[in-house]
Amino acid sequence: MNRNNFLVHLALAIVLILVAAFFGQLNRWRKQWSMHIVTMEEKKRPQTSEEIAIADRAAGRPEVLVKFKSGLSHDAIEALTARLNDRVEDLIENAPGWAAIDDLDDASPAATVEQYRAMPGVEYAEENYEINIPDQVTDATDISRVRTGVMLRPKDPMFSDQWALANSGQRGGKEGADISATIAWAKTTGSEDVVVAVLDTGVDYQHEDLQANIWTRPDGMDPYQDDELGSVDDTYGFNAIENESDPMDDNGHGTHCAGIIGAVGENDLGIAGVNWKVHIMPLKFMNAGGSGTTKDAIEAINYAIERKKAGVNVRIISASWGSTQRSQALEDVIRKAYENDILFVAAAGNSSVDNDRQPHFPSSYNVPNVVSVAALDRNDQLASFSNWGAKSVAIAAPGVDILSTWLGNSYEEKSGTSMATPVVAGVAALVLAEHPHMSVEDLRRQLLSSSDPIVALKGKTQTGGRINAAKAVE
């Protein structure tokens, strides 16, 4: 090869290498571009409920929620679902028997639900329905959090300390020893149409976690008129001690009870109440020391009844107080509340005694609207201080180390049948949010019949059970 030929071949080789390198780079650019397009498509989030449903099916998320009959093993449940070419996505820990099912055929959720409903081993089946997502929830994590199925957990920062609502075994508690609030909330988080009177030391109606749920006298409604007191400007409720308008709490006990019933939920503050939204009517009859007279209690109950007659939807009175002294006058006014369709939820007392033998009032009055409440601890044991009564105490609710609102925008843990009482009053309000026209008799029956049997309560209360919000709102 002469020198000239060598140079020509060298030049050709360099050109070939450059061409190959160019096409190689082109190929890489093509791949990167197509990956970019895929990434962009993946990042495009579904917007409408239909898009979400389609995306859910595409992503293999569970389409249906099935409650299998008790006694079926995990293997048996998997065998049943495999028969329909489905897969058990998750067995829901806090809801025994419930499973989230992923339909591998990607049939419509409604059709899949029908298939499960027809199966003999199935108690219920329903779509993994969309829960209304609050406007401010836009983050993908939040969306998946609220769409996890039959439960709804609020993002209030102290919620994890509220074992009464969701007991995950925190601080040595028993997992599931709670009122199943997160399951109930998937159905309802309460209604501002329901008014719960908190008959107590008053309520700090300026507490930032309560303010939005405090009842105020509606525009156009005349101030309260009393034969003896004349006109009372009851903007925020009623103070029976001073016979005046201001029911501001000067103790903290009433504010604590109010927070259990209805601290605003999903507001990024403190805790969530049993009701995220409700109207709390503050009634003050106990002083800064936490005690009051029968007469003032009667005055305040009478106020609630009169407001009911005037059109305010007062359906529940929460009474976290009592004594061993019987008062016919107090019993009579509670009966009057019954005649006006108002439930009266009362603390069973904290003297570790049997109320069948040593009655505690008002909880021991034999009036059809009275629900007497004992206290449970975080391990489903009757609280050491709690009164009981196979005939005279209706039901139990969490009442030990209960976190709730306190004076001055603070929060405290307190114990007592005082704390168990507003849990039941709160569940009653949830039921009325779902069934607004339910009579007081039916409401009481609904609360008692939906309790979870607890071994420690056998022979200790009428129901032998712990209140269950999820069952109550069904």
């Binding site: 107590d200 106990m286 005690s291 008062s327 007392g349």
Partner: protein, 89 residues
Amino acid sequence: MTKDEAVDKARKDLAQRLKLDGSKISESSVDDADFPDMALGAAEEDEMSGQMMTRGWRIRLSADGQGYEYRADKNQVRLYGYKGKNYRL
């Protein structure tokens, strides 16, 4: 109210009731205690109280060989079971 203020109030009350000089009242014990309600388990007649467990002090005093029990918290002092009755000071 502090614990010392509560004890002082209890001593003065007992001296007044028994019509004794304060020096005749002696302090048997002062202990932290959990009371069953907001009347410290010492409600007066016709008194309703919040059913919340309440942390306070059990103050045991004695005079002329007799024992007396006072109950107190930051809000109040009560005489428990004096001649069969409770008194809020």
